[in-house]
Structures are given as structure tokens and as C-alpha cells.
Amino acid sequence: MVRLVFLGKFSDVAPAGLAEIALPGDVRTLKDLKHWVARQEPRLGAAMEEARTRLIVNQCVAHDLSQPVADGDEIAFLPPMSGG
């Protein structure tokens, strides 16, 4: 299983069913996962398409979408931030 966390405006369109998923067989990298999520939930895919999306794996920033995804990972999808 992998845990998916959708933050900010992504949380408005992310269904609860995506919070924990069995890793699909064809998902090996973060790029695969992002495409898989967009296929499952087109509204989420569209929101990620229009915003600069950063991925965080097990609380560390992912700099490369070819990074592999493993069972037990927590992956967060971050839209542009707005603190202060």
C-alpha cells in the first residue's frame, strides 16, 4: 500500500478513496504515479496540470520524477505554497 496526501487546492478534488491505495502494477516511478492519479481522477489531473506541482516522498522533496515508488511510501502532492 502507498499513502497519498493531497494538499491545498488538490484536497478539494481528491476523493477519500485515493488516500491509501495498493500500488498498481504499472506504477514504478513518481511520473507513473502522477499519470495514474490523473487517469483515476481527471479533475485532479487537470488541477495538477495547471499548477506547478511538487512531490514529497516520505517527507523529503523529490527532485526527479524518475524516482522509484515503493510499497509503504507516503507521497504528498503540493500545489504552489502561500504562507506568511
Partner: protein, 151 residues
Amino acid sequence: MDVRITPQAFDPQAEIAAFAHGRHDAGALVSFVGTCRSDTGGAAVDELRIDHYPGFTEKEIARLAEDTSRRFNCPDLLVVHRVGAIRPGEAIVLVAALSTHRSDAFEAVRILMDYLKTDAPLWKKESGPGGARWIEPRPEDYMRRVEAEKG
């Protein structure tokens, strides 16, 4: 270095007083308090909600504060940032710096605020009679961020 994320309302003046208490070695104290406005661009705001990513948000803000501290020789920085539901008039963020001379403290507070605007993992949503909308950094926030990086 004191970095805190809190879902509770806080009193900026009490925080600043506690931060500076007994620090007779510091010649300068600079602070900035950002407050929830009751309207933005003519639209009334009833509530601001700030989402965070527990663990990661704290870690990233601490990293930004440490970078700023090193850069401006300002070991004493205070950051308090609200998350959750915030009412107009309540403080959202407090950044304060103690230093020997004023220029380091002024710069540290200014640059750390610029970083927080674009790099802190926080997401603001304003709601009012006209509905709710997510806030994103303005182009000038990104420009200030670029300037801050250049020094």
C-alpha cells in the same frame, strides 16, 4: 531559534516580550506581525483557513529560518505561524529577530518573510459571502523571492 506552528490563536506582543526577555546582550529587536484582513480587493473575508503538511511544514520552516540565521549572523530568530481557521484581526504570522546591530535584524526578518510567502508549505483559503478561494503567491512575491536569493 524558536519555530512553532500552532492551531491556536496567539498574542504577538506576549511572544515578543518572552523572546526578548533578559536579552541585554542584543542591541536590536525587529519584529513583523502579519494579520488576517477583513477584506481583500473589496471582497469581505469571514475566515482564512491555512492547511499544512504536519512534519514537513515544521521541518521546512525551520530550514528556512536556519538559512536566514546563518546568512545574517542572527542566531536568535522567532517564527510563530498559525494554521487552521483564522478570523479577521487575528495574527497569522510573527517573525522576530534579535541581533547586535539593527541592520542584521531588519534584513533577517524581511528575507525570512519573503521566503515564507513562497517556500513555506502552507496553503491559504479565504472564504466570505462571495464563496471560497485558494490564495497563491502574487508575481511580486516570486520577484521578492528571487531578489532575496541574490542578496
